[in-house]
């Protein structure tokens, strides 16, 4: 029994859906680790391989300012690599290469998110992987994909968002694009990476056949742009930003409204959406404004849409002095779609729903200690997901994996350590 099973304190007898599957994980930064995080949460044995040339650089991300810099000191890294095991293997040493080759023969999935062609140059292209293990599914995740004239282009999440159209589709019409305030396509590419692995496993079960999956991160963003891409082709319309308003369907109010500030900053906002006249009446009621309810400029959706600037101003006058959270509860009590623009501290310390659903389970990490982690956003009736342990220390599970899984003796492991092969 490995360390993850020993550490699992859930006491929940329901099965982990992917227990028994093994993933040889060469991913780093965010997109690839996001994919294997899902597989690990669902019970797969994800063995993350690092080496001197390829230490996951996110190990240095968001270090604690009051502590010395540490390769195991990043909560950012821990969140994306929890529930995985970690080994080191030096690919420039023959024994280190053999460790990886043995791991490949024991794996159902091999996944990496290096630049296109890099894994092949490291000696592990699709042909070599098939020689080692014809049953292994191989996933390559890169910015532009493994084929195509621009495959060697360099991307990070924001680069991919820019090229895909996702950045342009975010922001106010008269301002610059706002883009996304984080690497959204690292999440998205990771989600699709996990989906692709699972589809390929089901295909393998049915046909006995493994395959190579090529994911281009930019394409994972482009699939989310279908409406404007079709609109341009059939109506000749170029994409224009709409801020927080809604053109399709054409409804108003549909925006964020400034509320009273809080101890942190004067920067509190509530999202309000009105889809029916009943909701409009309820909104006016809750905001305590019979004048607005009877105002001819706002007495139908068409009228509100025609006078949307004035409408949004009139609503803001009423929300500006109110607590966004109290207003949200009051509007929801009247069935009006409304939500506070929550910060992470709101979600983690106050949000009653996330709390009731146990969305931030706690788990240990050998250096960071006990911390909460983001959950997997699903509950199963007859299975479970797990939050057992934060990210592995660099090489923290090398001895366990090599001796228990890959058939090395303790003496061999010591020898390889002495030779810096692992």
């Amino acid at each position: 029994m490995g360390i993850l099973e020993e550490t699992d304190r859930s006491g929940d007898a329901r099965p982990l859906p992917l227990a028994g599957l093994r993933v040889c994980d060469f991913t780093w930064i965010v997109a690839g680790p996001q994919a294997t995080r899902i597989l690990a949460d669902l019970g797969a044995d994800v063995v993350k391989v690092e080496n001197e040339s390829y230490i996951d650089s996110m190990r240095l991300g968001l270090q604690r300012p009051d502590e010395p810099m540490s390769l195991n000191g990043s909560g950012f890294h821990s969140n994306f690599n929890r529930n995985k095991r970690g080994i080191t293997a030096n690919l420039h040493h023959p024994s280190g290469r053999e460790v990886v080759e043995r791991l490949v023969t024991q794996s159902d999935v091999v996944i990496e998110n290096f630049s296109a062609g890099a894994f092949e140059r490291m000696g592990f292209g699709w042909e070599r992987l098939q020689e080692l293990n014809p049953q292994a599914i191989y996933v390559s995740l890169s910015g532009f994909g493994q084929v195509g004239r621009d495959r060697l282009n360099i991307t990070w999440g924001p680069t991919a968002a820019a090229v895909s159209g996702a950045t342009q589709m975010s922001g106010l019409p008269d301002e610059d694009p706002a883009g996304w305030g984080y690497s959204y396509l690292d999440h998205t590419a990771g989600y699709y990476g996990a989906v692709a692995v699972l589809m390929a496993l089901l295909h393998r079960r049915r046909t006995g056949e493994a395959q190579h999956i090529d994911i281009a991160q930019i394409e994972t963003g482009m699939v989310l742009t279908a409406v404007p891409v079709l609109d341009y082709q059939v109506n000749g319309r170029k994409y224009q930003r709409i801020g927080n308003r809604s053109e399709y369907p054409s409804i108003a109010p549909h925006n964020t409204y400034r509320c009273a500030g809080d101890d942190f900053e004067d920067d509190r906002w509530i999202a309000i959406v009105v889809e029916t006249e009943e909701q409009w009446g309820a909104l006016c009621d809750v905001l305590g404004s019979p004048d607005m309810a009877s105002d001819k400029r706002f007495n139908s959706n068409d009228a509100r849409k025609r006078n949307e600037d004035e409408l949004d101003t009139a609503i803001t006058v009423l929300t500006r002095s109110q607590s966004a959270r109290d207003l949200m509860h009051a509007l929801q009590a009247r069935r009006v779609p409304a939500g506070l623009c929550q910060r992470t501290d709101d979600k983690m310390e106050i949000d009653e729903q996330l709390s009731a659903r146990g969305f931030y389970p706690s788990a240990p990490h050998d250096e960071l200690g006990e911390h909460r982690y983001e959950g997997y956003p699903v509950q199963f009736s007859d299975a479970r997901w797990r939050m057992v342990r934060g990210a592995p220390l660099l090489g923290g599970d090398t001895v366990e994996v090599l001796t228990e899984l890959l058939g090395y003796s303790e003496e061999e492991v010591s020898q390889m350590m002495a030779e810096l092969a692992i």
Partner: protein
């Protein structure tokens, strides 16, 4: 305009039988259908919600001509059924009886309350996988709260990380129904994992393990905010939103600039190259335009690439100089020449501009196919993954409303023609 099922090559989940109902699961349904599953979308007689949302072909509203519907319903079949009618129960039961997966996007417990939901069918069909996607999950104090995409991106956190340096401007919701995408992508991981578990067990000779999968959109969005979570949990810091770049605990210099052609360029991380060699290449390029400023001073190389403290003022000066340089060129030149220097810079494209990029042609990314209401074929954005041996592709164009009533109800469920006619006349189907 008959829809032909292309049976040239099998997809990775070829033949999986899926019923989709409601409006919150259509992206998951599409991804399954494009991958080879037989997805039957059960729509009310007036049609799914997205059929009533534009834009429309030629801007003329028509149930069958919504681009919103087309974007998320390729490869599916469509039948109609009015759940308000008592006669629908036996028809619905026959549909569920033939399926392996129910994708329940009704967003509520409506079906269960009527006795025709997961509880009922999971007793009858032990291996059935019922995947429910709801705004807040099937339990908890907010389970019945009213929702929308805007409300979800507010509550889940993406908006407070996205917007402008100027905080008199609001947090921004990115356009494109991303709360549906995030939750549907997570739903697929859960659903496919449940299928794996079901068959894993079945091979051992036991009963197949069925599953009720409870996907919360609020949780899926909440899990999709990258840096704001560890900033709070591990460092106790809140992040603040900034124009066109990552939210951060402290303000930093711009990443995005408007170029001479009016297009924008994204300089990842502010544009400073990751090593000295690339920096020198960038300086040579800047020299062509005599815009390198004082960056040839050796102190910059030293501070950027050897000084562990990386003096912030000097870095900002370098970033600003690079920013001024790129604003004097076209975005296309900055993008192409930057990439040639291995700089992770991207042109900020409008979605339709990708139709002209030959790289996507090399990858056959766009799928050419029919679009109801439009004479010529169009190009649909394709799949987010390329399988070497089991291609994912558009199997049929988006269905007309109830297009497959005859095929499904009569040919596959064995309903009598006279019964279908009567159900149709009495507005059950």
């Amino acid at each position: 305009m008959a829809s032909q099922l292309n049976t040239e090559s099998a997809g990775p989940i070829e033949g999986l039988r899926v019923i989709e109902v409601g409006d919150l699961a259509e992206v998951a349904g599409k991804l399954l259908a494009d991958a080879g599953a037989d997805v039957i979308r059960v729509e009310p007689r007036q049609g799914a919600r997205s059929r009533h949302i534009g834009p429309y072909v030629n801007d003329r509203p028509d149930t069958n001509h919504s681009l919103r519907f087309a974007s998320a319903n390729t490869s599916k079949r469509s039948v109609t059924l009015d759940f308000e009618r008592e006669e629908s129960v036996s028809i619905w039961s026959a549909l569920v009886a033939r399926t392996e997966v129910v994708l329940d996007g009704t967003g509520s417990s409506t079906l269960d309350d009527a006795g025709i939901g997961a509880d009922h069918f999971r007793t009858l069909q032990p291996g059935l996988i019922w995947c429910s996607i709801t705004p807040f999950g099937l339990n908890g104090p907010w389970q019945d709260w009213a929702s929308s995409d805007l409300v979800q991106l507010a509550l889940g956190g993406p908006m407070m990380s996205t917007g402008y340096d100027d905080h008199s401007l609001p947090p921004i919701r990115s356009d494109g129904e991303h709360s549906i995408a995030m939750s549907n992508e997570y739903a697929l991981t859960a659903l496919l994992a449940a299928l794996w578990l079901r068959d894993d067990n079945y091979e051992d000779g036991d009963h197949p393990i069925g599953q009720l999968i409870d996907v919360s959109i609020h949780e899926a969005v909440s899990a999709t905010t990258e840096g704001s979570f560890p900033n709070w949990e591990f460092l106790g810091q809140r992040v603040i939103r900034q124009t066109g770049r990552h939210a951060a605990a402290e303000r930093n210099s711009p990443w995005q600039y408007k170029c001479t052609d009016g297009d924008y360029i994204l300089l990842m991380g502010g544009g400073i190259p990751r090593d000295a060699k690339i920096f020198e290449g960038l300086l040579r390029w800047m020299d062509e335009y005599d815009l390198a400023g004082d960056l040839h001073d050796p102190k910059y190389l030293e501070v950027l690439y050897t000084d562990p403290n990386r003096d912030v003022e000097i870095r900002n000066h370098v970033a600003d100089t690079i920013g001024s340089f790129v604003q004097s060129l076209t975005a296309e030149e900055v993008y192409r020449r930057g990439q040639a220097l291995h700089l992770p810079w991207g042109i900020v494209r409008r979605p339709e501009q990708n139709l002209d990029d030959p790289h996507w042609e090399d990858r056959d990314f766009f799928w050419r196919g029919e679009l109801p209401g439009h004479e010529e074929s169009v190009r649909y954005p394709g799949a987010p993954y390329r399988f070497s041996n089991s291609p994912v592709r558009m199997r049929r164009r988006p269905p007309l409303l109830g297009e497959h009533n005859h095929e499904v109800y009569i040919d596959e469920l064995g309903m009598a023609i006279a019964d279908l006619r009567q159900y149709s006349e009495t507005e059950v189907i």
